[in-house]
């Protein structure tokens, strides 16, 4: 007991020696997920501190960032810069008055000059700007060039071609797609969103999102049925049960080492793909995800949003940081150095030109698709929260044979109609 008392006294002493911050510097805090992303982004973001010594950024690395952020912000605390995983989360926070409208800052600091108009619109809640979208994403089909060349295969453009190729891939003893959701369960929604857009076409999805047609529309249900058929055929990581245990490491290694032929994944996977292929010494490339008619559709997604905490004692300083961070110069630099998915801002041609041409081609194709009405929708960006959770949770019940594609769509329709009626839906740019 005596020893414990001494230890306790030491503990109290140590606790009492809390660091004391300087007074005349405004510190803008930001919470950021622990891991290798921060290792690369962190130092680049901290370059902001050289711009104006009186405004300093402090990055707090966090495990389980979003859950912690949400609890803290909801409970009246949290960082100055509130990052959320997507617009639907912004909506709830804005409604609750937890984050600030930023229209005044947008005008004053000229955000409209470098943000794409549609991108700023994504941050509107009841007509006011509450968030800035970050990390422009799309999904593509990565493939192992060595494997394709050795077998004389070419990337499929249509679902029919995919069908034919898949047979050959399986005959060669390989796995068609290196898919799996063990590291990130919502991975499921990537495929649901992709099949809707590629099979039924983005216009159908747009109609459903605007409530003109239900999710039980024939073409949309067909897309789910096709996804299920591909899953049941074992294309996704070798079988339904294996899909549920294949993790991120499996996804990268099996593709990079050529035991799987292809991988439909987001542009966020570029960095991992480059790393793993670097280790295996094989070559990667990508092609658009096959569609029903061979059109190159690209779904658009946002990996993150940034807002200003309503509790922040210095919103101007936070806005100052956002202005710097979202500027094309900073975004270009982070794209070049970290292969970070750029914010939807006008990044100079020279930046893209300096990239690996395969990577530059992804962003070029995405902007081409959005200019030519060939863009589609990712579920985490454009669906309301309950529907979004439903999309990735309940699809597993289709795959495990508990419910049919139609039942799945009916359940979604019910939930989506509720959320649409309540107005809980993120802004959908008009086509």
């Amino acid at each position: 007991m005596k020893r414990l008392k001494i230890l306790f006294a030491i503990a109290v002493l140590v606790l009492a020696l809390a660091p004391v911050g300087a007074q005349d510097v405004t510190t803008v805090t930001m919470w950021f997920g622990e891991g290798s992303t921060l290792d690369c982004w962190g130092p680049l973001m901290l370059e902001f501190n050289e711009v104006d010594p009186s405004v300093q950024l402090e990055i707090v690395p966090q495990a389980d960032t979003w859950n912690v952020t949400r609890t803290a912000v909801a409970g009246g605390g949290g960082p100055d810069i509130v990052r959320t995983p997507g617009p639907s989360f912004v909506y709830e926070m804005a409604q609750a008055g937890l984050i600030l409208p930023m229209d005044a800052f947008a005008d004053e600091m000229g955000w409209g000059d470098f943000f794409f108009d549609w991108a700023l619109d994504l941050g509107l809640v009841d007509g006011q700007l509450y968030s800035l979208s970050d990390e422009l994403e799309t999904l593509v089909m990565y493939y192992n060039v060595d494997v394709f060349e050795a077998n004389g295969w070419t990337p499929p453009d249509t679902m029919e071609e995919l069908n034919a190729l898949a047979e050959e891939v399986e005959a060669a003893g390989l796995t068609v797609f290196s898919h799996g959701n063990a590291s990130w369960r919502p991975t499921n929604e990537h495929f649901v969103g992709e099949y809707w857009t590629q099979v039924a076409g983005p216009h159908k999805v747009y109609q459903a999102l605007s409530g003109e047609i239900p999710w039980t529309d024939e073409s949309l249900v067909e897309a789910i049925e096709l996804l299920d058929a591909h899953m049941q055929a074992g294309w996704y990581g070798g079988g339904v049960d294996l899909y549920f245990t294949n993790d991120g490491v499996y996804r990268r290694t099996s593709l990079a080492e050529g035991s799987a032929a292809m991988n439909i994944e987001g542009s966020w996977a570029i960095r991992g793909t480059v790393d793993y292929f670097g280790e295996s010494g094989q070559t990667w490339d990508w092609a658009p995800v096959p569609s029903h008619d061979g059109t190159d559709y690209f779904t658009i997604g946002m990996g993150n949003t940034s807002s200003i905490n309503a509790n922040s004692p210095h919103p101007e300083a936070a806005a100052q940081f956002l202005t710097w961070y979202f500027s094309p110069a900073t975004q270009g630099k982070m794209l070049t150095n970290c292969l970070k998915g750029p914010a939807p801002v006008a990044i100079g041609e020279d930046v893209l030109g300096a990239l690996d041409p395969r990577i530059a081609r992804i962003y070029a194709a995405l902007s081409d698709a959005s200019a030519n009405d060939r863009y589609g929708y990712t579920t985490w960006t454009f669906w309301p929260p309950k529907s979004d959770v439903y999309i990735y949770e309940e699809i597993e019940r289709v795959w495990t044979g508990e419910i049919t594609a139609m039942e799945y769509s009916e359940g979604l329709q019910e939930l989506f109609a509720e959320e649409l009626a309540a107005g809980d839906i993120p802004p959908i740019p008009t086509r």
Partner: protein
């Protein structure tokens, strides 16, 4: 209690004038409560006050962000019991979980503790090693076992390899709807049962050896010895742990969330994982709070059963 058993009830004024009463009050009521106060106050502040707010929130449409809520009465509970199809599945998973944890670890721990109590040489080494998994963090244990149960690079695949088989043992235990929940229970149990074993062993060692000798002389066989000497000897801890494990079965969360998040297709969903998803992913925190209250009510039933049994004369 002494105050209440006084033969002649005194008026309050009399009591305050009676010095022996004052001393008794001080010694038997005031000072004990002063001793209890620090922990109780901290606990009220940290658990009771927020929990009461949570219970109130279960009667509202609270979204989990902001404090602008509408009172909806028992609507959340109605929806939970009469509309939510997934709730029944989650509840039955909780009951399966409880059935597993009230049998497997108890049998394993009793068996092993009995074995160990008879061993002299190496006993210390065995019990040290058997207890080691209990010191691991759940996040570490989950990570280790996720890998060991992996169909391609796990133990099953290695066994298949040795036996020249393919896909017999190396299957996706966590990815199959039939095996997911029990695989998680297996992993949780791997970490937990050693603790139970040590508790039982400690209790067994404090049973007077004379009792075993007496049983021997009466010609008891090993089962009878276990049944009539060991079990009664460790009954208090056995019953107590039975109650605690039953209560915790309704709170099961961390391993399930770390390993499958309730998947595949809701196969390993329990009430607490639903509560978490409702509160944090679906913005239905009021609804989630109702699920939390339901968890407490179920666990409360368990307590009620044990309290009743205790009242009936069992010394727990």
């Amino acid at each position: 209690m002494a105050v209440l058993t006084q033969k002649k009830p005194m008026t309050i004024a009399e009591k305050f004038n009676d010095e022996s009463w004052r001393r008794k009050f001080l010694n038997n009521v005031l000072i004990p409560w002063i001793f209890i106060a620090p922990l109780l106050i901290i606990h009220l502040y940290v658990v009771a006050v927020p929990a009461v707010q949570g219970i109130y929130m279960s009667l509202t449409d609270w979204k989990g962000v902001g404090m602008n809520v509408n009172f909806v009465g028992l609507e959340n509970y109605r929806e939970l019991f009469f509309e939510d199809e997934t709730f029944g599945k989650a509840l039955s998973n909780n009951i399966l979980w409880m059935a597993f944890f009230l049998t497997v670890p108890f049998i394993l721990a009793l068996f092993c503790a009995t074995m160990l109590s008879q061993v002299r040489r190496g006993g210390m080494i065995y019990r040290s090693i058997l207890f080691v998994p209990y010191v691991l963090a759940s996040v570490v244990t989950a990570t280790i076992w996720k890998n060991l149960l992996n169909p391609q690079r796990g133990v099953g695949a290695a066994v298949d390899n040795i036996l020249g088989l393919e896909g017999v043992f190396g299957v996706a235990y966590l990815g199959r709807t039939e095996t997911a929940l029990m695989s998680i229970a297996f992993i949780d149990n791997w970490q937990f049962w050693g603790f139970l074993m040590i508790l039982f062993l400690a209790a067994m060692q404090s049973i007077p050896p004379v009792l075993y000798d007496a049983a021997k002389i009466d010609g008891a066989n090993r089962w009878q010895e276990f049944r009539h000497v060991t079990l009664p000897g460790i009954r208090p801890i056995l019953v107590f742990m039975f109650m605690m494990v039953a209560i915790f079965s309704f709170l099961a969360f961390d391993y399930i969330f770390l390993l499958t998040q309730g998947g595949p297709g809701g196969a390993s969903e329990v009430i607490a994982t639903q509560l978490y998803k409702n509160a944090f992913f679906r913005f239905q925190a009021g609804y989630g709070a109702a699920q939390g209250v339901v968890i407490s009510i179920f666990a409360g039933f368990i307590i009620l059963i044990f309290v009743t049994v205790k009242r009936r004369g069992w010394d727990i």
